[in-house]
């Protein structure tokens, strides 16, 4: 990326954040003036503007730097959240990589044999209708019986969410080449493997990367839900759960922890974007 582009992106982000804060505070100020009614009417506002429901932006940011207790020691909130986020990131990363491997494996299998597509695809779709909350205890109990660390069980829950978009979009991508392209490879007497690596996988990239971005966000959702249902104390999920329970007293803390989770999500999204840039650099040169 050129530095001019970096500067432009930076200022766009700053501007958008500024705009959102202005909207938040403006709405809150208006509600405070009119007792939570649309100005000049008796209609109530959809969201109350008191400090519990909508704390001031500065208070949320202030909470990020406030000292909080973590076991025996104490540290600023942002450091606490970063520490928690690091654990969640590890769980999500393992889940993502496993999901990518399993998803692509299934996609290749289904593109190879029509029979396996017909046999597997319905089950892959059904798999996503099982509520995660119901699945988590099963995975954890099984994991503990096998002597696996809880971290790995949480990763498996994350895998369960991430493999799905990879498998479905991967299959579409692998099937995307034109009949002429496939005939061309056939005319070269190319093997199935050669066709996979020279034609199908490169052609699948534009289908795969949007799915990977979705899978990246899902891997974090999976990790957080996994942490909560397992009761693991180290991750971001536990922090969010605790602050959610104490929302009525410390609303700023829940908002701060949500900012932490969003930050983690953005980091993962950015990493996948960088990977896309790398793997699709050739196509990009033409497109822009």
């Amino acid at each position: 990326m050129k530095s001019a582009k970096v500067t432009r992106v930076f200022f766009t982000v700053v501007f958008v954040i500024f705009f959102l804060v202005l909207l938040w505070e403006g709405y809150k100020w208006m509600g405070q003036q009119t007792d939570d009614q649309w100005p000049g009417t008796n209609f109530g506002l959809p969201v109350a503007t008191n400090d519990t429901i909508m704390p001031h932006f500065v208070d949320v940011v202030g909470e990020l730097t406030a000292e909080i207790r973590d076991g025996q020691s104490s540290m600023p909130m942002y450091a606490f959240l970063l520490k928690k986020a690091w654990f969640t990131f590890q769980e999500a990363a393992i889940g993502f990589i496993l999901g990518l491997t399993i998803g692509m494996g299934l996609a290749v299998l289904m593109s190879r044999w029509k029979v396996s597509e017909r046999g597997l695809l319905p089950w892959i779709n059904v798999s996503q209708t099982i509520p995660l909350i119901a699945l988590a205890p099963v995975v954890v109990t099984w994991g503990r019986n096998q002597g696996l660390p809880d971290l790995f069980s949480i990763s498996l829950i994350s895998t369960y969410l991430t493999f799905f978009p990879v498998a479905v979009s991967g299959l579409r991508g692998l099937q995307s080449p034109d009949a002429a392209h496939v005939e061309l490879m056939h005319s070269y007497a190319a093997s199935w493997r050669t066709t996979l690596f020279k034609l199908r996988l490169p052609a699948a990239r534009p289908y795969l990367f949007p799915a990977l971005k979705l899978a990246g966000s899902l891997s974090i959702v999976g990790a957080i839900v996994g942490e909560i249902s397992i009761g693991r104390k180290t991750g971001l999920g536990r922090a969010i759960l605790e602050y959610a329970l104490r929302y009525a007293i410390f609303p700023e803390r829940l908002y701060a922890s949500v900012i932490g989770a969003a930050f983690l999500g953005l980091m993962v999204f950015g990493m996948i974007n960088l990977a896309e840039r790398f793997f699709m650099r050739r196509t990009r040169e033409v497109a822009s």
Partner: protein, 260 residues
């Protein structure tokens, strides 16, 4: 042109979905010999099986009955031996590969070394008169230029036979006529046998030594028309010989239509 057969099709039938409700007899009792170095066009109304016939020669489809021999071998063996190169209506280049890498694709699959590949792809780019375009991506090229790259790719491993499926069908008229001249030049330079599927009467008449007119449902050889225009240039298009050949092809096609 030698007297040896490049292609020999004997009593070939092609039936799709045989025995089912949607059974289609695409080709019926096809007999055709193509001599080495000959330029033969297949022409006929849509649905007459001309593309299917090309695919039988290329072993992309198998005949239901009868035999297809290419250079004295089965079509299957000829494909394994890479005796032919194929050009499709849409150039079918890989977007993610540069032009040179597209031309080198078959060489890569045949295990050529990197430097040999580079030398050959440059020779091929010279042959199709795109010497400076190796570093471009296909999408940066016009349709006509892409089709030249496609021809370069098909000829890169020096096959003795070139199978072309309406290669200029998607090009505008001026580019098309220009490409025809280019193709004849390449054909003369390389001595390759060409089987050329088209639905354009003047194109078939201009390019071919022989025009095979097919009739549809089921696809059969209606007639074979010999054409001898000698050395062809742009001015050949105004010659009476060319008009006569085109008229003969047109009349055969009309007869095919009346048959229906």
């Amino acid at each position: 042109m030698s007297e040896k057969n490049a292609i020999s099709i004997n009593n070939a039938d092609k039936i799709f979905n045989e025995g089912r409700d949607d059974e289609v007899v695409a080709l019926s009792n096809i007999n055709l010999d193509v001599k080495e170095g000959e330029f033969v066009s297949l022409i006929g109304p849509s649905g007459c099986g001309k593309s299917t016939m090309l695919r039988l020669i290329g072993d992309l489809l198998e005949p239901t009955q009868g035999s297809v021999e290419v250079f004295g071998k089965s079509a299957h063996q000829a494909r394994i031996d890479q005796d032919y190169g194929m050009v499709f209506q849409h150039a079918g280049l890989f977007d993610w590969r540069r032009v040179a890498a597209n031309i080198e694709l078959p060489l890569e699959l045949h295990g050529w070394s990197k430097s040999d590949r580079a030398t050959r792809s440059q020779e091929m780019l010279d042959l199709v008169k795109l010497p400076d375009f190796g570093g471009y991506y296909p999408r940066q090229l016009s349709g006509g230029m892409q089709q030249r790259v496609s021809i370069a790719r098909a000829l890169s491993f020096e096959p003795k036979l070139l199978l072309m499926d309406e290669p200029f069908g998607a090009l505008d008229e001026m580019t098309r006529e220009h490409m025809q001249i280019e193709l004849l030049r390449i054909w003369e330079e390389t001595g390759t046998t060409v089987v050329f599927v088209t639905h354009s009467i003047p194109e078939a008449a201009f390019l071919s030594n022989r025009v095979v007119v097919l009739s549809p449902r089921p696809g059969q050889v209606h007639s074979v028309i010999d054409v001898d225009l000698g050395q062809r240039t742009e001015s050949t298009r105004q010659d009476s010989d060319f008009f006569n050949a085109a008229t003969e092809v047109r009349e055969a096609l009309r007869a095919v239509e009346e048959q229906e």
